[in-house]
Every structure is written in C-alpha cells, then in structure tokens.
C-alpha cells in the first residue's frame, strides 16, 4: 500500500545531511561564518516544529502551547546551571524528563477537550508558564538568564558551543526526522492518524484512544523541551519571551506552510520561514508586511503545505 520511494526521495535526505554536516567546515573559507549559527538555530526550530507537526499533523491535536514546553526545557537548563551543574548531556536529558512531566500534567487536563477548546486550554497553560517564568526572580524574571559559560560535553568535545554544538543539534534533528518517518509507518503512527481521521470509530474498534493521544502529547512536549534546552545553549540565554504564545503561533505557521502531517513539513517550513525573515530584514525594517504577503502567496500556491509539492504528485491524499 506504501509506494516504494523513488531513488531521489531516498538520496535527498542523505545528501542534505552530508551538506549540512560539511557546512561548518567550508563556511569559513566562503566567508559564511555567521550562517553557521543561523543554520544551527534553524535546525533547533526544525526540532521544535517537528514536535508540533507530530502532535498536530499526525495526531490532529491543535496544540497552541509548544512554546511553553520549549521554555520548560530552556529553564531546566537554567536551573541546573544556577545549581552549579555543567554537563550538557545531563542537562538536556533532564530537560526532556522535566518537560515530559509538565506535558503529562497539562495533557491529562487538556486532552479531555477537543478542537478549539483544546487549542485554548493548551494556550492558557503555556501562558501560565510564561507568567511563571516572568515572576521567577532567581532566574532573572523578565530580563532572562544568561549562561556565562557553555555546558560541558565531555569526551574531549569541550563546551557545547560553536561547530560542536552545531553537529550535536544536526544529529538530534536527523535522528528525530528518521524516527518520525519510521513511526509514521509503525502501528503507533497508523493508530495516531486513525484517531486524527475518525476518533469515534477508533474507540469503537477497541483502541485506547485517550492513552494513545496522551502518549503522543507527552512525546511531543518532551521533544519541544529538548529543543528549548538546545536553544538555551545556542543563545546562551533563556528568557520568558521564548515561551510567549506568539512563539507557538510562529511554529504553527511554520508547520502549516511546510506541510501538516508530512515528513518534510517541519524542516521545509522552518527553512523557508527563517530564510524569508532573514532576507527581508536585510532590505527593510518593515519586514513584517512583505513576509505576510509572501505567506499568503505560499498558502494559495500550496494549500497542503510546500512538502505536498514533492510527494505524491497527482495523488490526492
């Protein structure tokens, strides 16, 4: 039932991975040093967008609170640094666990609602987290918290910064991409999309619908938390603005223009969004309105997301 992917479709991910892996090595000679950080940031945004694409695109749950989980991940790193902890791996792991716990608590309540109500309640929870972060004086409150030294990667890799951090982020993004592709054709992936398409029937078929949605919600939260932890290391800074609801909305736009429920949706959306904002900022301070026009254009040209251009040509999914 699954068409065998064409040769190009199999080569493209590896070619892209290779190009991205080599980029920091060739960037200095091309005078593109600045863009190593830009791509690193883009990869982290891709990880965050992937978590939203998973929960919304595959799971059909319109969550507008992913930024809250990003913030929980970032502030977990902050809390550990404040406590004198320096291991990057440990901090990232902790961010995943802590965010998963937050997602479990929030999911247990939110998943009793659907549609617009679910959207509103996830939004409300993330705004609560935002205001919590603003009020936490020990971690800088409104001003945010700067990480003075990079976390330690150990194993002779030095600090989590520069090219090394770039490669770690790339590895995480690539593994996540591969994992999601596998998950999409696994039992869990089919069950999740079944719930998205016809929840009542899935219940009547004997699926533990709530438990499946709950699991997916926690997984998506944990991935967003990891993105937040990486983002804190990338900026060496965490602030409440990371978890403002407009950040959740930006992720939503990225996933929608990229392609909801499509494997290239998150990477493509993040790449296009970040490139557009970067390029437009070069030309004008008033970059929002041309960006808006371009987004409208994209939505008209690719109503199912740009990823739909590449897969299943002529096929209506």
């Amino acid at each position: 039932m699954n068409p065998t992917p064409s040769r190009a479709a199999r080569i493209v991910p590896w070619a892209l991975l290779l190009a991205l892996a080599l980029f920091p090595l060739v960037a200095p000679s091309l005078d593109l040093d600045y863009y190593v950080g830009f791509v690193r940031h883009g990869l982290i945004v891709t990880i965050a967008a992937t978590s939203l694409n998973f929960i919304l695109g595959y799971g059909g749950m319109a969550a507008l609170g992913q930024a809250g989980f990003i913030g929980v991940g970032a502030y977990t790193v902050v809390a550990l640094v404040e406590a004198g902890f320096t291991s990057a791996w440990g901090a990232w792991m902790a961010a995943v666990v802590v965010t998963a716990a937050f997602a479990a608590a929030i999911g247990a309540v939110s998943l009793r609602t659907r549609g617009v109500y679910f959207l509103m309640i996830t939004l409300a929870f993330s705004q609560m987290l935002y205001h919590l972060a603003v009020s936490l004086r020990i971690w800088g409150g409104d001003d945010g918290y700067g990480l003075h030294a990079p976390l330690e990667l150990g194993m002779g890799l030095g600090g989590a910064q520069g090219r090394v951090l770039y490669w770690v982020v790339l590895a995480v993004a690539a593994l996540l991409f591969a994992f999601l592709n596998r998950l999409a054709v696994s039992r869990f992936g089919y069950a999740l999309r079944g719930i998205r398409d016809n929840e009542t029937r899935m219940e009547a078929l004997g699926y533990p619908v709530y438990r499946i949605k709950f699991t997916a919600f926690i997984a998506a939260g944990a991935v967003a938390g990891l993105a937040g932890a990486l983002l804190a290391c990338h900026h060496r800074f965490a602030s409440p603005s990371m978890m403002h609801w407009t950040e959740s909305a930006t992720l939503l736009v990225i996933v929608v223009i990229g392609g909801l429920g499509r494997r290239w949706g998150a990477p493509l959306g993040a790449a296009v969004w970040l490139t557009l904002t970067e390029v437009l900022k070069l030309y004008t301070d008033y970059w929002h309105w041309p960006l808006g026009l371009l987004l409208i254009l994209i939505v008209f040209l690719a109503p199912k997301g740009m990823a739909a251009w590449f897969d299943g040509r002529g096929k209506t999914a």
């Binding site: 039932m1 699954n2 596998r182 998950l183 054709v185 696994s186 039992r187 869990f188 992936g189 089919y190 069950a191 079944g194 398409d197 016809n198 009542t200 029937r201 899935m202 219940e203 009547a204 078929l205 004997g206 699926y207 533990p208 619908v209 499946i212 699991t215 999914a317």
Partner: protein, 249 residues
C-alpha cells in the same frame, strides 16, 4: 444463561427521556432485531450499549462480564463490537489500510513505534481474511471513501468483525441500499450468524423477518414488546405504532 443482558437502561437529554428503563437480553447464537419508528431511541440505545454515550442508570453484562463501568474500547476487548448507521470508515485510506487498522486493534499493542507495520504478515493475513469474509478482496487498493455505498457498508461491517465479537451491534446495515446491495448484505448477515450473536437495528421489515430470531419493539424510548417473529407480527400494539404505518405507506 443469556449471552448479553441489559437491565433498566436509562438515558435522558435534558427533559427528553430518550431511553426509558429498557431491559433486553440476547441469547448465544441469537439474532435479535430492534425495531421502532424514527426517534424511538434505537440508536441511542446502541450508543449506550457500546459505551459511546454514558448511561444515566442501568446495567450491562456480556458473557458474565459487567460492562457498565467500562469505556468503549474495553467493551470491545470483552467481545462487544459495533457498526454505525452513518458509515464510519477511514475515507481517505485504502480499503486494505482500513482493515489493517481494525486488525491491529485486536492483535497486540498499538504502542510499537519502531517496527514497520507493513512487515507484519500476520496482520496482513487477518486483514485479507476480513476482506474475503465481506467480499471486498477485489478492491483492497481502492480509497475507502470512493467505494460505492454498498461496499462502504460492507467495510464498516468488516471493521467491526475484526474484534471477533461475541455480540455484534448492527445499526441499520441496509440503510440507503438498493435491492441488489440489500440482498448481498442480508446474505452476509446470514453468514455471520454462525459466528456471533447479533443485535440488529433495521427498518427493512422483510430483512428483519428473514434474519431475526427474536424482535424487540421500541417506541418513545420504552420497550413495547419483545418476542419471536410471529408474536411481533401479530401484536396489536406493534401493528398500530409501527407495522401498520409501514403497511399504509
């Protein structure tokens, strides 16, 4: 002992009593038809039994297991499976994927996320067997939503059969069907009687008299009468509220 027992089922929506203390039993191997005019509460009753609607009062048991407090998916585990009056399939997916999804619900955990489902030959075999059983094995690759109405109804039945039910709930399986499709569906239900007890809601009285061992009549949420075909056919009250109007129409 009855296979399935429903005792004093009660459900109201605001001031409207939709199901008014209905008691019902289905014997092993029996096909039990539930008839009644539109709005009598038949589908509501089915939703209460399958658990898609919460009961206000009453008790349900299947094969000695009390189902009353169980969520719908746990009732399916215990052998209660249903079809839908308005065809409920996964319209965007191929027929075979629909069947795989149904087979997967019954066979082991659905939390595997690393193994490709396509590699599970046991699951494919089960899906194929289901397709053969309802006569859809020629259209496995067709998108479910693009199938003719009769075939979609068959698929709906096949999805319910994947659970290997002890009691199968059919909600108007003949609704909207032409004579040819109806005949096929009746033949299919005849075959299914050998493997499961059936609780059947149906308006087509010819089919009901053909298929049912016992008939219960529902009117305004209350159980009017219950008995074998001959008893119901000759029941004066039933004739007045239901069969009479059908004959007149």
């Amino acid at each position: 002992m009855s296979l399935f027992v429903a005792e004093n089922l009660f459900k109201h929506f605001g001031g409207l009593v939709a199901v008014d203390h209905v008691s019902l039993a289905v014997e092993p191997g029996e096909t039990h038809a539930l008839i009644g005019p539109n709005g009598a509460g038949k589908t509501t009753l089915l939703n209460l039994i399958s658990g898609l609607l919460p009961l206000d009062a009453g008790r349900l048991a299947l094969d000695g297991v009390d189902l009353t407090a169980l969520p719908p998916h746990r009732r399916v585990r215990h052998g209660l499976s249903r079809c839908f009056q308005i065809t409920s399939v996964f319209a965007n997916d191929p027929v075979f994927d629909n069947l795989l999804l149904a087979a997967q619900a019954r066979a082991g955990s659905s939390f595997h996320c690393l193994r490709r489902r396509a590699a599970e030959s046991a699951l494919r075999d089960r899906a194929l067997a289901l397709a053969r059983k309802v006569g859809l094995d020629e259209v496995l690759d067709r998108t479910a939503g693009a199938l003719p109405h009769g075939d979609q109804r068959k698929l709906d039945v096949a999805l319910a059969l994947a659970a290997q039910p002890k009691l199968l709930l059919l909600d108007e399986p003949l609704a909207g069907m032409g004579p040819e499709d109806s005949a096929q569906m009746v033949a299919l239900i005849q075959r299914l009687r050998a493997e499961t007890a059936i609780l059947l809601i149906e308006h087509d009285m010819d089919a009901v008299f053909q298929l049912a061992d016992r008939i219960s009549v529902l009117d305004y949420g209350r159980l009017l009468a219950s008995g074998d075909v001959a008893y119901i056919r000759d029941h004066p009250e039933v004739q007045a509220v239901y069969l009479g109007t059908e004959a007149a129409a």
